[in-house]
Symmetry: C2
């Protein structure tokens, strides 16, 4: 039985989305227990609205405060010590839960998780890692925005963590790891990337060289490493392009009568495409590098998307991702691969 603490007040929609997601996840997965952390009364009311209540596998844990979506992280950390976000992470720290999930303020979540759980030995700062779809499978990309400026050593830490994550979750023994750069040749890139490449070539990581932006989507790589500035731009640019393409697909299929008929015939295909590109399936980014599993859901996630974030937490807790990264780092500290 895996216990997951859920910040039930976080995100744009709060309990109205999170509780249906929790109930659906409980139904699908008999091996999980969920702790809903937040204001007791509204949570019980929302449960009642869904014809549900507390039971052995669904517990409400009262938290009187809520971190606002636009609250400065330092302020949230200092003055909201009884927030739903904070208490959910505290439950992981205390061993009451094996993972925490929040759709709340990313900066506050990162600051709180770092403060409460601490980083693993050899890790300067946690990173945000997420799975993106590719032609043949999918690719883990990190950092997606936690660290705007990175040293070469940090990029190496990201590579190590991403590699262990993929090993643990997918059972791959030698995940292919690449550094995101502006070209494949050795002379390309800035000094940070070049130095990181040098360090990675000397490491135990299965480093396959530089990747360009398009390589994220081919499926030839398991892990793509970059600083948080570049990763965030790559992710958001992808979201914007996908949104535009989907906009025009719908537009073209609705443009006129004859074409609308074609759209009708093509409906099952469009549905299949919609499922394939449903970004909700990829909801749930990991704050990696901590003594504990913390999953960040998109703030605007609906119940389907939030459920995916819960299952990401389950998978990482089941596969003991933080423990495996910690153990690997400890053995590497001996060899001088991390400092």
């Amino acid at each position: 039985m895996i216990t997951i603490a859920i910040d039930a007040m976080g995100g744009d929609h709060g309990p109205s989305v999170i509780i249906p997601a929790a109930l659906a996840a409980l139904k699908k997965q008999p091996d999980i227990k969920l702790i809903l952390v937040g204001r007791r009364e509204p949570l019980l009311e929302e449960l009642a609205r869904q014809q549900a209540g507390e039971n052995l596998r669904l517990i409400v844990h009262h938290a009187p405060e809520v971190v606002e979506m636009d609250e400065p992280p330092a302020q949230a950390l200092r003055s909201k010590k009884a927030s739903s976000m904070r208490l959910a992470i505290d439950l992981v720290k205390q061993g009451e839960a094996q993972a925490a999930v929040s759709a709340g303020n990313t900066g506050a979540l990162m600051a709180t998780a770092r403060f409460v759980l601490k980083t693993l030995p050899g890790i300067d700062r946690p990173a945000i890692v997420q799975t993106l779809p590719s032609i043949r499978g999918h690719t883990h990309v990190l950092d997606l925005g936690a660290n705007v400026d990175c040293t070469p050593e940090q990029l190496v830490q990201f590579a190590i963590m991403g590699s262990i994550l993929v090993s643990a979750i997918e059972g791959k023994s030698r995940p292919r790891v690449a550094l995101l750069n502006v070209g494949q040749e050795d002379i390309k890139g800035n000094d940070t990337v070049k130095k990181a490449a040098e360090l990675l070539r000397a490491s135990h990581v299965n480093y396959v060289g530089y990747a360009e932006g398009n390589d994220i989507y081919t499926g030839d790589l398991d892990v793509v490493v970059c600083d948080g500035f570049v990763g965030n731009i790559a992710l958001k640019t992808s979201e914007g392009l996908a949104h535009m393409i989907w906009h025009f697909v719908r537009y073209e299929f609705k443009r006129n009568w004859a074409v609308r008929l074609a759209g009708l015939v093509a409906t099952p295909v469009l549905r299949a495409l919609g499922r394939r590109f449903d970004s909700r399936r990829y909801n749930g980014a990991t704050l990696i590098g901590l003594n504990g599993t913390v999953i960040k859901s998109h703030g605007g996630a609906d119940a389907v998307a939030f459920e995916y974030a819960i299952f990401e937490a389950l998978s990482e807790a089941q596969n003991q991702v933080p423990e495996r990264i910690g153990a690997e780092l400890l053995s590497m500290l001996g060899t001088g691969q991390v400092a």
Copy 2:
């Protein structure tokens, strides 16, 4: 009459693609004259294969050497002084042509163009700017890879140049210019971006604030400014995602018999979508910041794509983009907005 010098040997396909593109462009635009620069014999042979030859509007200008696609830029600049690329740019310098187009080695083209044409007063280094589609129109993004590391002052120069380019080409009086960043709030981003924002707020540019990656594709912005590392990642990531989506659209429409029928009915729609997302329509990046117009075509461009690059050259030469940027910079040098 606008004269355009074409590096007829550049790119992955050379004259076999470039000559059909040139002939098509001449047919569509009676006001242009093209100078094909390259080895005289093979060019005349390819022209003959296309039932064409030299005439008043199509001239072959002999260049004995060719810059290889993987040749180091410094070596190309030093030892290939009679290359098709170099002589095409020389024609612009000498005033024999108003623009040059090449599908050759980007680094060599940039180095050669800088050496021969020189940068405009107040511009440290040229940038690469290209048009990307958006939901409502399109967006100019720069730098796309010429400058891996940029100072805040360079980002301001890019903003000024992009703004003037959009004014000149599209007749917009106050193009909306944004800085690409990892969030909209003032506290987001690295020091370079923050300092550039400060400088832009004090400039005459219609600076509207930070943009995130997705904003490239909304159409709310005319110019998005970033360093060449980030811009290249955004561009290549977009190419990779578009390729993946198109791959799955075709896959889903071909999966089985019933669906293939739907695909048949949907063919006109798919064609319309294909046209809309045809990346060939966006071929032709500008090396901006030089005393002259130089357009870089994608190396793998086909004849349709290369024709678009020729028309981009025509448009910029007609609208005297370098002259207008130069004049604006001169007036700004007086006000201290550029150094």
